[in-house]
Symmetry: C2
Subunit: 405 residues, 2 copies
């Protein structure tokens, strides 16, 4: 164990700090397959080579740095370097910086490393540019079909095929990679916590038990456009009213069920100050601890929406746009992680991660590092230096447990 | 009185029908100072010249067609040709088509026309492009300052100054036009009814008594952006919740007060499905029968918004963006209009009109033609052929009463 870890964390963190930083917002704009992303990927390659790790890009554009010869039973850690628009510094990069430092710790120990160890940078985790999250890990595991990935298009009309080709990836090679999956004996992703649970129990590090099932539903309320100044209330078919009632229904029902419901995106047609809307679309993001609760909640909120719509002469249609089943992380792996750490809080999360995608194919686990603000997908993410070091030490302990027999 | 008025109405109406018609929506997109508006203005000029009326564009871009020499005590009728986004066919154009046909009727009568008569097309009545309604009549009367008008900007960043200059208007000449106002002895605007009052009493035509006071208020709710999947309900500062509560408060309070409240325009930041909004802006359009009721209602809805915001850790600010006092149309003119029509229903309206702007400066009146659907600012506007002809005949009778001594 080295004793200048905090300084070395600072040094490594600083080398990444300005890449993709927006002076305007104070947040990061690190989108997949852009010039900024290229800087980040060069940084990853340099870190790998400077440590004498063998550097590889897999068939799907994910970057790998191997300690030892890649082979069966490898212990893999890492995360992603891309960000949401105006995201925080830690979401993703913390897992990769911590991984390099944890491998440094591992090599500085007395115990021989008996398995291959790898650090991975999964491409395009946030999906900020092409709209689909976890593209790198979804391609690797075959969850996302290559032809569907190639056709994804960004806001400027550039396809993912064009963007990856420009970045030098051989687009013909995309797809499920069984040999590489066969080399992953376990995947452990360290991530900044995206809530306040660790802060509440005053713990710097926790272990994930699973990812809540979640989905997105479009609630479309169709009424009748009319003049705001002349249409009697009794003659109105105003879709804004059942939309408002549904927002409140979703909140109160999710509170009662211990779930998370959010309407954060709205589209109003025609969206004129002096006109009753003809249509209001609201997107419900809903997450619950289990699939039964999620299904019951969606049905109850849908019933409320349909009923509120009918009262107002409006029609409501509800469409599921995406649905992700529950992820339960491998129990045996979680037990070994807990054993390595001497017991830390276990928590579940509502957010998707590459570890969640991989968990259906290989044993996967996640470590969370306390986020003092509890805020995520925002520059307000915040972690104490002591907690950052505690995260590296925890990850190193887990790697030692798994890779040193 | 000619007996083929219905056919002539059809002919004239047809010549206007396809201009700015959206095949997609079935509604009209006739926005000020666009190519479509230029077609409409050419149509107006052709109609004026084909009738040997003298055609003029005033200093503020409004079009005029004069029968006789413009001078003191002129009797003016007309309306506007522009539309809201996906508006109906009648709102505006009905007043101009009816005006041309009523002048035809007037000239076909035996009685000599002893006063100048004019038809006017007021520019940019709906304010759909630059956000301010009745720009042409507000400039003419000095209610809107030229420098403020010139700086108005559309959604593409084009200023009204640029748009009017491109359309050939001398922007240096904008402003209150006392000589022209001095030529308006009375202004009578015919308009499609924007509610169901005439249908309820089974009358094809009615006379306006006044326009309700009304205004627009921006309700801005500022919370905190956060991750929809990881932020506990207790930790959220979600501005969508007080917005929804305010929509419902505005509706129930306006119902109790016999007023009209509408939230038809919303802006959500950042408007992401998986993110709690940092800000929700909603615009309240509020109209009431008198100014005291309006002021009391705004205060009550503001109090509800502030209170709902505080409960949710959100701040609410309310800004009045525009406020229009009550309009009471000239009683003497209204009496003469009623006399000319042999008595028709009198009604007030919540909608603003050029006649309302002019009424503070010259005697003004409005005729309404029954709208079978009661719907306005929508392609669903609907008028019976017999009612359209009744409107022209009523307007011709009023012009005869006022212009033929």
């Amino acid at each position: 164990m080295t004793d200048d870890l905090e300084r070395r964390f600072d040094d490594l963190w600083s080398s990444l700090r300005t890449i993709g930083l927006s002076a305007e917002s104070g947040g990061y704009r690190r989108f997949a397959w852009t010039a900024v992303d290229d800087q980040l990927r060069r940084w990853f390659r340099e870190q790998a080579l400077s440590r004498d790790l063998s550097y590889k890009v897999d068939r799907n554009g994910n970057q790998w740095a191997w300690l030892g010869v890649p082979g069966e039973g490898g212990i893999v850690t890492g995360s992603h370097l891309d960000s949401v628009p105006d995201g925080g510094a830690y979401d993703g990069p913390l897992g990769i910086v911590s991984a390099f430092l944890a491998v440094d710790e591992l090599r500085a120990r007395d115990r021989p490393v008996t398995r291959p160890v790898a650090i991975v940078n999964f491409a395009d985790e946030e999906g900020a540019r092409f709209g689909v999250a976890c593209v790198g890990s979804r391609l690797l595991t075959g969850v996302l079909a290559p032809h569907a990935a190639r056709a994804l298009t960004d806001g400027q009309g550039v396809t993912l095929e064009e963007a990856m080709t420009s970045a030098g990836v051989d687009i013909a090679s995309l797809g499920r990679d069984d040999p590489l999956l066969g080399h992953i004996g376990a995947f452990v992703e360290l991530h900044i916590e995206q809530g306040r649970a660790l802060d509440d129990v005053d713990a710097p590090v926790g272990v994930a038990t699973g990812i809540w099932p979640h989905g997105r539903w479009l609630f479309a309320f169709t009424g009748e456009a009319n003049h705001a100044g002349t249409t009697r209330l009794a003659d109105r078919r105003d879709p804004m009213l059942p939309f408002a009632l549904t927002v409140l229904s979703a909140r109160s029902r999710s509170a009662m069920a211990g779930a998370l419901a959010t309407f954060g995106r709205v589209r109003v047609v025609p969206n004129a100050t002096n006109g009753i809307a003809s249509r209001v679309d609201g997107w419900l993001d809903l997450r619950a601890s289990d699939e039964g609760t999620l299904a019951t909640l969606v049905q109850a909120i849908t019933d409320d929406a349909v009923s509120a719509a009918a009262t107002n002469g409006v029609t409501a249609t509800v469409t599921c746009e995406s649905s992700t089943p529950a992820v339960v992380f491998d129990e045996e792996l979680a037990a070994r992680v807990q054993a390595a750490l001497g017991g830390v809080p276990a928590l579940s999360t509502g957010a998707g991660h590459d570890a969640g995608i991989l968990s259906a194919h290989v044993p996967a686990a996640m470590l969370f590092v306390r986020n003092r603000s509890g805020v995520s997908h925002s520059p307000a993410e915040q972690a104490d230096p002591a907690d950052l070091v505690a995260g590296v030490r925890a990850l190193a302990a887990v790697l030692a447990e798994l890779a040193c027999q």
